[in-house]
């Protein structure tokens, strides 16, 4: 089975690289960081299928999203502990909390949506992106987050309410 791993990996890589990159990019807002974290996600996936039989990963998509989510959380945890935020980025973070209305003239629709999403709390970001953008089912999201399907439905509903609030003045 080990000989088949590269083929299996290539298939999964080709199918999900764009989605995972996009998921991370929207959350971190930096191309360099999104590339680094996405590479790490797939490297972990590759190590996992080398170590175990590929068929043991029942849902590779869930595995990838779960890893991506954890890496982003770890990154922010380390980032905030070390307090190594460059001056330019502090300005950028401060901008996020400013009124979206003021940013309308400065940013494109795409940037406004990204910034609004980044203002949501972590779990809300995840469910919105997974459900509405990456077409994950409620069941899959529940599996990734380790929550009940009902809880996920509530989260999706609340996340959309919050997003509506953030975007309504734009």
């Amino acid at each position: 089975m080990k000989n088949h791993s590269p083929f299996y990996f290539r298939k999964i890589y080709k199918t999900y690289i764009r989605q995972i990159y996009r998921f991370i990019y929207v959350k971190v807002g930096s191309q360099q960081l999104a590339e680094d974290l996405t590479s790490e996600v797939f490297l972990r996936f590759w190590k996992n299928i080398q170590k175990n039989n590929p068929t043991k990963i029942e849902n590779p998509r869930a595995f990838l999203y779960k890893t991506a989510r954890n890496l982003v959380i770890d990154h922010y945890r380390t980032y905030s502990q070390k307090k190594e935020i460059p001056i330019e980025e502090i300005k950028e973070i401060k901008d996020v909390s400013e009124s979206l209305e003021r940013q309308e003239s400065l940013f494109s629709d795409l940037e406004i949506v990204q910034r609004a999403i980044r203002q949501l709390k972590e779990e809300y970001q995840d469910v919105v992106l997974w459900y509405y953008l990456d077409n994950l089912s409620v069941q899959e999201i529940a599996e990734i987050l380790g929550k009940s399907e009902n809880a996920v439905r509530v989260m999706i509903h609340r996340a959309m309410e919050k997003l509506r609030e953030l975007l309504k003045e734009v």
């Binding site: 990159y21 996009r22 990019y25 929207v26 999104a34 590759w46 795409l110 990204q114 509405y132 975007l167």
Partner: protein, 236 residues
């Protein structure tokens, strides 16, 4: 701003794509020397050995004969048809049949007199699409795609075969099924939202009992009954 507009805005995020060069390099970096395609040269080398040559030629000959046998079956005039005969009914989903209906419908106009075979093919594809429409679409985007496709078929029918009763009936059936599916979906979304909101409300015992019944209905996919109970509950 309603939910549709927010979803439309979220779709803008689809524009975000990784750099192709980075995608290639990352795969190479992860796989290292294993990042190469299957090398079939060894197989071809073996097939060229005299000992395997007769077997190989016989096998190719058999495959060709089998292929021609399939293609020469009555009423099979294209590769697509031959393949669709081989594949089981369960192989294709509603998308395939909607697309097929749309394509064969477009061909109907290109022939001067009524082409019974094309009409039959379109009718069959429409029937199959009705059979295979999902009872519950995966997400709002899937619903939107189905509605769009059905609308496209209906428009084509109006322009290309407006008097063909058989096709009109088949399209009508597809439209009805789609409408039913969308209505159910709307009820489902409404029920989910209502249930989510009710989770945080303090309810009387009677209301709590109604909520439990509504949840049961929801789990049994009887969204209309669930909604009725929720309305009853909120009016108390």
């Amino acid at each position: 701003m309603d939910e549709k507009e927010i979803i439309a805005k979220l779709q803008l995020l689809n524009q975000i794509k990784p750099r192709q060069e980075w995608v290639r390099n990352t795969r190479k970096n992860i796989l290292g020397p294993q990042d190469r395609w299957v090398d079939f040269s060894g197989v071809f080398m073996i097939m060229r050995q005299p000992i395997f040559a007769v077997g190989t030629v016989t096998m190719i000959l058999l495959l060709v004969l089998a292929w021609f046998g399939l293609l020469n079956k009555p009423q099979q005039d294209s590769l697509e048809l031959a393949i669709s005969e081989i594949a089981s009914d369960n192989f294709y989903d509603y998308n395939y049949y909607l697309e097929k209906a749309s394509q064969t419908l477009a061909k109907v106009e290109s022939v001067p007199q009524k082409n019974e075979k094309l009409v039959e093919e379109t009718k069959q594809a429409l029937k199959k699409a009705v059979e295979k429409l999902p009872s519950r679409p995966k997400n709002p985007q899937e619903s939107a795609k189905i509605v769009e496709k059905v609308k496209e078929i209906e428009e084509k029918l109006t322009t290309l075969a407006p008097e063909d009763e058989e096709l009109i009936d088949a399209t009508k059936e597809l439209k009805e099924k789609t409408k039913e599916m969308i209505e159910t979906e709307i009820y489902r979304i409404r029920v989910e939202a209502e249930l989510a909101m009710l989770e945080n409300r303090t309810l009387t015992e009677e209301q709590q009992a109604l909520l439990e019944e509504a949840k049961k209905d929801y789990n049994n996919q009887d969204y209309l009954s669930a909604l009725e109970k929720i309305l009853q509950l909120t009016n108390q």
